[in-house]
């Protein structure tokens, strides 16, 4: 068996997941992990699958595209060999939540993520919440992995400096505080 990731993007409608999973099953693939979301009416999903020996990514993609067309489902498909290797940054990392908020304007994500890239900080999840704090207000929540070797004070200063240049506020908090406050766990 070999492991592939198959990604799907297109208009959301009831039955999309049923069609995609049926087609993967018909191709002999076993689904081992899925992440799916809907954004602006668009369905997006990544399926990690174990595919039968000899089934090439290009062949699997072709089968999926034909099946979707036959089912009348309009999705783009990409199939790639998967790897179990995760980005580690070359050192142990800790999970942090970095929130940036203020007046919405183009270039905010690029501005902050440039700082992350400079410090080898990996973004694991990014969420934009628009309009909740008033019209034209934006809140971006980055869940990131921060290498332990990083000087947190320096990172905070750099982020604050970039944020203030655009009238934004930034907060940097270890993820554990969110878990501790909001979630009840037995340990």
């Amino acid at each position: 068996m070999q492991k592939y990731t198959a990604s799907f993007l297109g208009k959301d409608c009831p039955g999309v997941v049923a069609t995609v999973s049926r087609l993967l099953g018909e191709a002999g693939c076993n689904i081992v992990e899925v992440s799916q979301t809907i954004l602006a009416g668009q369905f997006a999903a990544i399926f990690a699958v174990q595919a039968p020996d000899g089934l090439q990514p290009v062949t699997l993609r072709l089968q999926l595209c034909e099946g979707l067309q036959a089912a009348g489902v309009d999705l783009s498909v990409l199939v790639r060999p998967a790897t179990d290797e995760h980005w580690s940054g070359g050192s142990d990392c800790e999970p942090f939540v970095i929130s940036v908020d203020g007046p919405d304007q183009p270039g905010l994500i690029a501005l902050m993520s440039r700082v992350f890239a400079r410090h080898r900080i990996n973004i694991e999840s990014l969420k934009a919440i628009l309009g909740e704090g008033g019209e034209h207000h934006a809140l971006f929540v980055f869940e990131v992995q921060v290498p332990e070797s990083i000087d947190l004070g320096r990172l905070r200063r750099e982020l604050t400096c970039e944020a203030q240049s655009r009238s934004l506020r930034v907060s940097v908090q270890h993820r554990d505080i969110f878990e501790a406050v909001h979630r009840v766990s037995p340990t």
Binding site: V97, S99, K127, E132, L152, G153, F178, H182
Partner: protein, 461 residues
């Protein structure tokens, strides 16, 4: 992945609702510092405090930064000085107090508590020396807090100590007359004092406590108030039914849980980094003079025109209980006072109610039967007789003794000022109108002295 609500609610608590860790208090036992030689004792104390407290402020700031939640105050509590300094007289006690003040300054903490005597059943030589030293000791120092436990449910009330404290509070106010009697803001008289309080001015490290320990005091009246406001604004409970006090008690409890979790995670990490055991999380709604960080405002959110209005004692009882329940669920190490404070000068809303006459000393006394502490930060006329102050203390001690709870008195007889005037202490201690003390003479009662016996522990009605 965190939900949108999980992230935004913490950001709101921090930015708009004054969420913080109010204090991390390093408890240091001084029992291994004792000596019959005063210089040697002071040297031992300073060396031990230096050893354990040198990194306290730095580590608290570092951990606060890591979680994005400020640790507002860093403090130290020590073993009761009347016990560890028992061989020394009043002059020696003043020197010890000054040495502790210098050590607190060196460590960068704002207060050090433990200039303490435990006299609920009687005095030792050290107790008498410490109490005699209070006016001079508190006038010569900036950061030292003193607590005197004069009563307990097991021992009764030491009325000789009550009478003596009435006089010493007057003398301490006189000794700090140039600063509005501020010495009394650092002096508390207790019944049933807990051994592990992280909050000042009552913090000290009890004799059953570890050699060193980290206790954390979390607050958050602003967070509780906003949670109540949101529930009231929604107009219904989470099942769509009519919003009642039962629902609001649940809101307070859940909010107290969240705030306590913040304190526990931060206190625990500070303790780990310092290599010191974690003691307790004390969730006490402790206000500051800042608007939005007030316990008094919670009374308004719960439907009273002001704290002091009829219903205030019931509101405080519900608030105090819900806070304890939330805190107890959040941490297995809840201790200290854990409840709601009602310090008049330190809370802008309570201070306003006292100034306008909506809140009287008598009503405050009634409320102390259900709050977590007692008559706190109350300015009274400077010419209040010592026996009347002793009478106030005796009343408050009786409430604590009979109800098996901590009660305390921290009153400031402001020299040269009377009812209708005000005093400002600045900073966290705030400002207060001078409140009138009930008329009548307690001198003959106080003059009897002796001890009010401990109450019966059965036949409770």
């Amino acid at each position: 992945m965190l939900s949108e609500r999980e992230v935004t609610s913490i950001l709101n608590m921090l930015r708009n609702e004054h969420l913080d860790v109010r204090t991390i208090t390093l408890g240091v036992s001084l029992f291994d510092c004792v000596s019959h030689d005063l210089d040697l004792f002071i040297g031992n104390v300073q060396a031990k405090l230096r050893r354990y407290a040198a990194q306290l402020v730095h580590v608290c700031n570092e951990v606060g930064d890591r979680y994005g939640i400020p640790v507002v105050n860093k403090r130290i509590s020590v073993s009761p000085i009347a016990v560890v300094g028992a061989p020394f007289g009043p002059d020696g006690m003043v020197r010890i107090c000054c040495a502790l003040d210098a050590a607190a300054q060196e460590a960068g903490v704002d207060f050090l508590g433990g200039f303490t005597a435990l006299v609920e059943k009687g005095f030792t030589c050290g107790d008498r020396a410490l109490i005699e030293a209070l006016p001079e000791a508190l006038s010569q120092t900036e950061r030292i807090c003193s607590s005197i436990n004069v009563a307990s449910s097991r021992s009764g009330i030491n009325m000789d100590a009550v009478a003596l404290m009435g006089e010493q509070i007057r003398r301490t106010a006189q000794a700090t007359a140039d600063r509005g009697g501020i010495g009394c803001a650092k002096l508390v008289v207790f019944a049933n004092i807990p051994q592990d309080v992280p909050f000042m001015a009552g913090a000290y490290l009890g004799v059953g406590e570890p050699d060193v320990v980290i206790n954390v005091g979390v607050s958050g009246p602003g967070v509780v108030r906003k949670a109540i406001d949101r529930a009231v604004a929604a107009g219904h409970n989470n099942r769509g039914g009519r919003l009642t006090l039962l629902d609001l008690a649940e809101v307070i409890k859940r909010t107290a849980y969240k705030v306590t979790r913040v304190g526990e995670i931060i206190g625990g990490e500070v303790a780990r980094r310092l290599g010191i055991p974690f003691g307790v999380a004390d969730l006490s709604l402790a206000p500051t003079p800042a608007v939005g960080d007030s316990v008094g405002e919670i009374f308004q959110s719960l439907g009273l025109s002001s704290i002091g209005a009829p219903g205030s004692t019931a509101v405080l009882a519900m608030l105090n209980d819900a806070v304890k329940k939330g805190g107890a669920f959040a941490s297995s190490s809840v201790g200290g006072l854990s409840g709601a404070f009602i310090p008049v000068s330190e809370d802008s809303s309570i201070e306003a109610a006292a100034t306008s006459g909506l809140l009287s000393l008598e009503k405050l006394e009634a409320m102390t039967s259900v709050c977590s502490v007692g008559l706190d930060m109350i300015a009274i006329p400077g010419d209040t007789p010592a026996t009347s102050i002793a009478g106030l203390i005796a009343d408050e001690m009786a409430i604590g003794m009979i109800n098996h709870k901590t009660t305390a008195v921290r009153v400031i007889p402001v020299p040269g000022k009377g009812v209708g005037e005000a005093v400002s202490f600045g900073g966290l201690l705030g400002k207060a109108a001078i409140m009138s003390v009930p008329q009548g003479d307690a001198s003959a009662f106080i003059g009897f002295g002796g001890r009010i016996p401990a109450p019966i522990h059965s036949l409770k009605n």
